[in-house]
Symmetry: C2
Amino acid sequence: MTSARKILKLGKPFEMRRGGTLQDVEIAYETWGDLALRADNAILIFTGLSPSAHAASSTEDPSPGWWEDMIGPGRPIDTQRFFVICVNSLGSPFGSTSPASINPATRKPYRLTFPVVTVEDIARGGYEVATALGVKKLASVVGASLGGISVLAYCAQFPDSTRSVISISAGARSMPFSIALRSLQREIIRRDPDWQDGNYEHDTIPVTGMRLARKLGMITYRSAKEWAQRFGRERANAERRPGDPFGIDFEVESYLENHAAKFTGQFDPNCYLYISRAMDLFDLADHGGSVAEALRRFTVEKALVMGVETDLLFPIEQQQELADGLSLDGREVQFARLPSIQGHDAFLVDMDRFRPVVGDFLKGLDRAK
Amino acid sequence: MTSARKILKLGKPFEMRRGGTLQDVEIAYETWGDLALRADNAILIFTGLSPSAHAASSTEDPSPGWWEDMIGPGRPIDTQRFFVICVNSLGSPFGSTSPASINPATRKPYRLTFPVVTVEDIARGGYEVATALGVKKLASVVGASLGGISVLAYCAQFPDSTRSVISISAGARSMPFSIALRSLQREIIRRDPDWQDGNYEHDTIPVTGMRLARKLGMITYRSAKEWAQRFGRERANAERRPGDPFGIDFEVESYLENHAAKFTGQFDPNCYLYISRAMDLFDLADHGGSVAEALRRFTVEKALVMGVETDLLFPIEQQQELADGLSLDGREVQFARLPSIQGHDAFLVDMDRFRPVVGDFLKGLDRAK
């Protein structure tokens, strides 16, 4: 399989926000379209917790990307007009330096010796890639979920580095309900004896912990309303193991089982723990004393905030908070409150609602001033 | 410690709804107040998933019960007027026959040889106790959560056995979102190697699985809104274990840890699995072909349906469905839609909202007609 993945090798030490320095940092990314001569047509995309930089297909890698319907020629993020970059988050195992990487100093995987990863570090990974590609100021920085938080961290850390921002299903900070859910997911993995305090080998990863954590994620990424419509109380066809009174009865259980099994093995468990915790730790108020002040300091001309009414992890009130905080004189702010029933994951599924809003916003972006 | 617990020993075999027959069934219960000569002042209470029959203190057992503020002299369920019975669910380990009991045929604990427990079986346990105490027709049957479902199963199975019903934070059936959450809780327990396919000994129960399942329960019993107010992003004081990047950071994590630790060891894991699954399996539509028809067949004169707007497990729409289905000519139905922010567990916490509604409803009950 060919890959469109490119790697930026940072020639300088990478100081982590919460302490620690990484040497020889690499950031994986993909690009689509061409950078204009004036370098004023670049869009930087950050990802959610689990995807790679492969957001869309390309000649080098024709396999569909995780946001295939959003990015491409004539699509909302139009690669005939924009030079689109998607980065793999620092700490994620799909090409960027992460807990699964070899520490050049010890020639062993970092595992839990990896420094604490913050969303600010992830945002800086994207900034370094854009800069290395010759982009001084982005046309827009775009992301959903963790990607949306990364976008906020980008704007907070690098003023004058983007003309606009699109934040989707994100929030200024994680609230205790979602912190508790992610904390429990991490504990489920850490309590799997196969985790071995992070020292598992590639062929004996904590599969059970990852499967259970993934199921919990899937339950909270969607909404009760969607599942009621989709599954109701339909019974599963799965064979019951004789003498097992707790096997699968309902279609919803069978669905979770099949999807969790697919995920396991794709994502390194230690990387999952690090990035999950980064989401808990992020607080936009760290950049100015309060969320309102942090948003006031953003230097963007235009902003699009999108949220979904059924989102359990970043409730719609948190999207409203971002939109309100960004609304200042001289800034054009659009708030799209979507009635999707697909919850937090709607940006991956309910494309008919998301596409036109993103497309219209980007069409309205002037070429550089 | 003295106990107010009494035991009904059933002199006949107990045919379980989904197959299997239990011999020598025992149902634990407590009572408060005195039965009137005409036996027309009895209230039967079913419990949620985890409590015992000790709903309130008494002379024999002065320790506070799980619904202490609701039951007693001058309280909403007034023991000066009513003879109040609370039963421990069949399948629960607090005195009633359960998977933790000794099978008289083998002289070993039933464990997973126990037949499937349904909410209908639990309701019948209560019916047998009331009957044995000389009650032919209850003044009211009352329950919240699993107790509320048991109340519906009682009315569906035993027509003309109660004059009124109070259903709190229940529903006609479990929807896939709550089924998925309970299924995951059960799997977390079953994947704990100490579960040993149900054959653990008393001193080596699957503590980790029970702790994690309890945390998941606690997250879903409350609401995101309450936790945001209560914990915000407050940091925990707990000492971090050096070299553990995934310990407790936030107060909400510390709260979950402390409460889950308390629960573990109190509840037999196999019993938990059986009762949890009973909640998934219950469907009021089994009693008449549809939920509407089942509710139409209820023979009560008065009904009170109470629900909470922030309930994640039995959303308020499910309470509305019950109230609507019960509303027929000649029946007095009251629907109390409470704006509590404590979610599913509000009936244990937000007593100032629940007490007056329950009290007024029971005050309005005439003595037998």
